[in-house]
Each structure stands twice: as structure tokens, then as C-alpha cells.
Amino acid sequence: MNVQVQRSKAQRVRRSPRRRILAGLLVIAIATLVYSLPSSAWTGAGDDADRPWTPAELATLASLSPIADASPDRSNRVSTNEQAADLGRRLFFDTRLSANGSVSCATCHQAERYFTDGLKSSIGIQVVARNAPTLIGVQNSPWLYWDGRKDSLWAQAMAPFEAEAEMGTTRTAVVRSIYRRYRKPYEALFGKLPPMVDEKRFPPEARPIPEDPAHPLAQAWKRMTSADQEATTRAFVNITKCIAAYESKLLPREAPFDRYVRALLSGDPKGADELSTSAIRGLRAFIGKAGCIHCHNGPLFTDQSFHNTGLPLPSPDARPERARAQGAWQVLADPFRSDGRYGDDKSRKNPHLMYLNPGFEDLLGAYKTPTLRNIAKTGPYGHAGQIPDLSAMIEHYRKLPLAKFLGHRDLILKPLDPSIRTQDLVAFLQSLTGPLPAKHWLDGQ
């Protein structure tokens, strides 16, 4: 019976060509509509899932990706030199350059941890007061350190060598070490090193200590001739310019977010799969009502500026800091500022220094906006690592709790809208994780 009924229906269909055409058109129409209707992910899923990205949002997304190329540092004539980068790589990982032979740049900037150390505050020879920021993407930073007290990678790289808590050494010791171990590649780049084997002229341990001129190391430095002091300092600067050239190689690589934006802008529907529904909701909040985009803008997700976000003190006995309000004056007074005599830009014009406003009141208690590239891999967060994870950081912005800090919290900050879900913002931030830089740059071998 059933077979007969089915056969009868089939016969009726066969007898009606118009119905076949109509059925075919219906299938085409439905299929085409299904294809053409934006999927929830593609349009931005979530509470406002049914609307596509607006032209203004698309423009914002395009401003965040792709990752910009590194611009060469004009104050460093070897910033794009491959030999310098390779020498810098070896120096970066060499613990023999520290006072106790156990600390290198890579101690606090560990390659496998996206060039951070996973600690609240870093540990060199002693505990350091600051959280180690990632070096991936640092090549385009106009300011270094959380308070921006240095304005070039090479000037920054000098400081940890001579900081007692970090590598605890001296510039004569560093240059002597280069003389013994890296003389050939150094001299191929910069010419002859000073005769560091002459211990009468170049004491094994000597460095300037302006704040403590009676210190034995400072006294040893003072006994050197000014020409030998200058030759040592020049060599020391050249060494850190190689380290800077190496750090310029540590570029962020394409993350799921970049693939999503590229596909979105080119009309490739496969791109919708790059981000989860939650991540897209987070992205929409990030560039929209959460307002994160105001400070975390551009392809590196930083405005390269400084903000007081009112983070809690790292410990009850810690004192609030002037932060950028101090760093801005320090960089202007720095003998190694990029437009000074140790810089290689003959124009001597660095707009960041020329137009710096050190008295800008909002700089009090303000710290550098960190990049969000690979942020899921670079915790804990904050200048002193006082925020353990991304959820806690978002909760900080949700509540903006009262805390003890100098100045005032950035007036742009408002507590996050309750409709914004922490897990969505976290999911989006996780989509900013790309692979580590090329393997060659990940160790000193």
C-alpha cells in the first residue's frame, strides 16, 4: 500500500514539468539565501548578533590588522643589519655578561614565554620591582620601560647590565667580555675595540655612578682617562645596539584575529571560523562599548602612551609612584637619549622628545599602555605584575575599585557595562596569540 502511494506521488511529479521547475527554483532560492545570509559569527554574534559589522566598525578592525612592519630605528645604524642582529642574539642569551655569570637578558625575557618570565616581578641577581614586559613587537615602541624613561631599544638595553638587581655588572666588564669572546664579529661591524686587556687603562670593573661618586666602581671609573671612558662607553653602546637589532627581529606573527579581519575585509566566508562566537562578542565590546580600543589601538594594540588606570599597589607596604611623571623628565635628562651624541640620527630630531610634554598632569601615576599582542601568554599583568590573569584585569576595569595611587585615574575610564561578559573579552584577547618568532631567534646557539 505504501509503495503504491509513493509511486503514485512520483508519477504525479513526473507528469508536471512546471512543478519541477518551481521546485528547482525554490531549492536555488533557499540555498542562495542560506549562503548569502551572514552567519552569526561573521556578523558578530551575541546580544546584537543579527546586525553585520558597520562600516565604522570595519574601518576600526582594518586599523588593527595586519601587523605593521617594523620601522628602522634611525638612531641605531645597525638596527637592520643581519650580522648585528645575530651578534645581538648571542649576547641576549649569554649569562657570562652578568656579574655572577647566571643572568642574561633572557632570564627575564624568556623566549618560550613570549619573552616574559611569568613572574609578578622579575628576578635578576636580586628581585626587580617591575614585571617584565614582552619584547615581541617592542621594535616600534617610542618609549621603553613602564615609565618610558628610555627612548630607544639600545639605550634601554644598557641599563640592566649596570643595574645591581638585574645583571649587576659594569661597562668595562661587559666590553672586556666582548673583547675576549666576540671580538671578531664586533670589530667586523664597528672597527677596533679598545685594548681592554690593558688593565691599567681599563679596570676590570668600573662604571660611572653619578648618584654615588664615592663608590669603588665609580672611583675606578674616575681614574680612567676621559678618552678611555669614552671609548669604553662607545663600545658599550655599540654592543647594546646589536642587542636592539636582535630585539627588532622579534615581530608579532599572524594571529587568528588577523586571519578573521583579512577574510572579513576580502569577503571570504571561511574567515568566520577563525574566531569563536564568544570571541566575536568580545571583539565587538572591545571596539565598542567597553572602550578598550581608545588606548589599545593600532596593529600593536597600544597607543604608545601612558595612562593611570588605578591599578592596586603590588603590596600593602609599597609606595605609589610618580611613574611617567618621573620617567618623562628622566628621558629628557638621559645622556643616552636617541637624539644625543650616542645616537646615529644626524638630524638629531626625534619628535617624541621634541614635543614631549613632561608636565602633562595626566602623566602622574601613569604607566605605558602594553601591547595586547600575545597577551594571553604574557601574564601576570600590570607594571608590577599585580594582576594575575586576564579575567582579573577585566574585573578591575569592571569595578574600577578604589586604590592608593598618585594623580587621578584616567578620566576616560568608566566601569564596564554589566552586559559585557568577561569570558567574551578574554576569548577575544586569546585570539591575539600568534606563533613565537622564527626559531632562529629563540636561543643563543
Binding site: 512546471r18 512543478r19 521547475i21 518551481l22 521546485a23 527554483l25 525554490l26 536555488i28 532560492a29 542562495t32 539565501l33 549562503y35 548569502s36 545570509l37 551572514p38 561573521w42 556578523t43 546586525r51 553585520p52 559589522w53 558597520t54 562600516p55 565604522a56 566598525e57 570595519l58 574601518a59 576600526t60 582594518a62 586599523s63 572579513l264 575585509l265 576580502s266 569577503g267 566566508p269 580600543i293 581608545h294 588606548c295 589601538n297 593600532g298 597607543d303 604608545q304 602612551s305 601612558f306 619628535p351 621634541m354 614635543y355 614631549l356 610634554n357 602633562f360 595626566d362 602623566l363 584616567d410 578620566l411 576616560i412
Partner: protein, 153 residues
């Protein structure tokens, strides 16, 4: 199925095909507001002077330094003013902050004022503030400057 349905179905299929040809970048609702590239002008609060500003480059780029050329015109006789003192600043009223830089303004030899060292570190609504003094007269003006990412083509 009625024969009359064939035409709506064809139209539906064609319409759907048309939508599918759009890239996601072309979809969307709200209008995009672009950053001004041409000169902008404003009358001083006292009505003494009219100011015209032009950024260089136009539009500025997020995070990059740019300069602003300002032309001042006397309202009474529409003559160009080629002297005096101009102070120029930019603020984001909704964020209650200004630029992080200290721009410098000088009188150019062609009579325009040139302000260098401007930098917008955020997109959004900026306001250019002008404070001009000349031969004992002072006038101030503000000019809205919406600053947005470049449109997606």
C-alpha cells in the same frame, strides 16, 4: 504550487544572488564618518576673526605627528591677518584630556601660522582650540575635528 509563484521565486533567487555577491565589508548599517581632509573654519567667539585650519598630512594618521596650518582673517574687512600670536591645542572633551604632546606654533613667512608636534593618540572626537591675539584684540575659537580610522574600500 500556483503558476503565479514562479515570478516571485525567480525574484527571490535573484535578490539572494545579489546579496551573496556583496562582501561582508560592504554590508552594514550605520554611515561611516570620515576624518576631514580639507580646510575647516570657524568664527571667533567675539566675531573679530575667522580661522581656517588645514592639517598636514590630511588626514592625520593615528599615533603619527602632524602639523596644522592656520589662516586668520579679519571679519570686518575680510583681510588676511599676517601677524599676532596664536596658541593652538587639541582636546577630547568626552575623554577630558588633550594631546600628550606640547605643540609649537610659529608665524610662517607667508603669514600663516604653523603648529608642529601635534599627535592624536586615539580616534574619536577631537576639538581644535585656537586662541589668537593681535594688536590688542583677542579672540578664541573651537573647531570640531572628528578623527576616525580610514574607511574600508
Amino acid at each position: 504550487m500556483k503558476p503565479g509563484l514562479i515570478y516571485p521565486l525567480i525574484a527571490l533567487a535573484l535578490a539572494a544572488c545579489g546579496d551573496a555577491s556583496k562582501s561582508p565589508a560592504q554590508m552594514g548599517g550605520s554611515a561611516y564618518q570620515s576624518t576631514p581632509t580639507g580646510p575647516l573654519s570657524a568664527l571667533g567667539e567675539k566675531g573679530l576673526f575667522r580661522f581656517r585650519i588645514q592639517t598636514d598630512p590630511a588626514p592625520p594618521k593615528l599615533g603619527d605627528y602632524f602639523s596644522i596650518w592656520t589662516t586668520v582673517e579679519r571679519v570686518s574687512d575680510k583681510s588676511r591677518v599676517t601677524g599676532g600670536t596664536l596658541r593652538l591645542d587639541a582636546t577630547m572633551p568626552q575623554h577630558r584630556h588633550g594631546m600628550t604632546t606640547l605643540p609649537k606654533t610659529r608665524l610662517h613667512k607667508d603669514g600663516r601660522f604653523h603648529t608642529v608636534g601635534c599627535r592624536f593618540h586615539m580616534h574619536g572626537r577631537w576639538v581644535i582650540e585656537l586662541d589668537f591675539s593681535h594688536e590688542g584684540q583677542r579672540d578664541r575659537a573651537t573647531i570640531e575635528f572628528p578623527f576616525h580610522p580610514p574607511a574600508v574600500r
